[in-house]
């Protein structure tokens, strides 16, 4: 690392990508906290999943292994499955109460 500091030329390292991933994840997380629309919350989940994907691919390059990219495929499939089921749930809820706001759904209250 000290070698890099000597070099005056700024290089794009894995750290940059990881920072980007962290920022993306944080934004998605903030969205999850503040938005009440179920659809938008799903989009925020997609943001967070993509942040994770970015991390995987960065790691793949950093370590010189292909496995990170394969993990991305799996995450992709899980995300797709989640979207399919989640949207189906939203549609069926919407048919009942004409709203996609998660605050209206509290039947699992203890």
């Amino acid at each position: 690392m000290s070698l890099r500091k000597v070099n005056p030329m700024i290089e794009v390292t894995s750290d940059w990508y990881l920072t980007l991933s962290a920022i993306l994840f944080s934004i998605g997380f903030l969205g999850m906290m503040f938005r009440k629309n179920a659809l938008i919350m799903f989009m925020c989940i997609e943001l967070m999943l993509n942040a994770v994907n970015l991390t995987f691919i960065t790691a793949s390059k950093h370590l010189g292994l292909i496995d990170g990219q394969i993990a991305v495929f799996f995450v992709l499939v899980v995300a797709a499955a989640e979207v399919v089921v989640g949207l189906a749930i939203i549609v069926s809820i919407f048919k009942k109460q004409e709203s996609a706001s998660v605050d209206m759904l509290s039947s699992s209250k203890g």
Partner: protein, 175 residues
């Protein structure tokens, strides 16, 4: 310099898209922001030598998933305001606590390392190209079992979505 630009421009677009996702009022705009983010991410993937993943990202995420989203948005209607019941008890306190924690972690990391993350492993000299053949050779050998499992998951998800959304007519024999 090109390297930096190739990173910085997509990165900025990603963050912009993400912010649109979070802050836009109109769901269609949110979706568009998400498309922006996902597309820019694909560019980043290319710079990271993951070309096949980038293509899949474009096709599956920016294409199929977003179409699904838009379809549902159109079905539900874009003009529904966000309804909320009374404020959730303790929610403000929790959110502020979480935010403080988040900020303090960021500050801590920034003070400690700046942008240099102290990664556990040094960067590999072995540069790999994420071509379909390379991916497939690994996925269908050492990762074949998770691959099969994940395909089952996908089938289950599809079936359950069908079960959830489809209105079964009550057969008369049930009564």
């Amino acid at each position: 310099m090109t390297e930096i630009l190739l990173f910085a421009i997509p990165a900025l677009l990603i963050i912009l898209g993400a912010l649109i996702v979070v802050f836009a009022k109109n769901p269609v705009h949110n979706a568009m922001g998400l498309v922006l983010t996902l597309t820019s991410l694909a560019i980043v993937y290319i710079t990271l030598n993951a070309t096949f993943v980038a293509m899949v990202q474009m096709l599956v995420y920016a294409g199929a998933v977003m179409t699904l989203f838009l379809f549902v948005i159109m079905m539900i209607g874009v003009d529904k305001p966000e309804q909320s019941r009374k404020e959730i008890k303790g929610q403000t306190f929790l959110i502020s606590g979480t935010l403080i924690l988040l900020v303090s972690i960021i500050v801590y990391i920034g003070l400690e390392n700046g942008l240099n993350w102290d990664l556990l492993f040094p960067e590999s000299e072995n540069a790999i190209e994420g071509t379909p053949s390379l991916l497939a050779s690994s996925m269908f050998t050492s990762w074949v079992f998770p691959f099969e499992v994940i395909s089952i998951l996908l089938i289950v998800a599809t079936t359950s979505a069908l079960a959830l959304a489809y209105e079964f007519k009550k057969s008369e024999s049930n009564d």
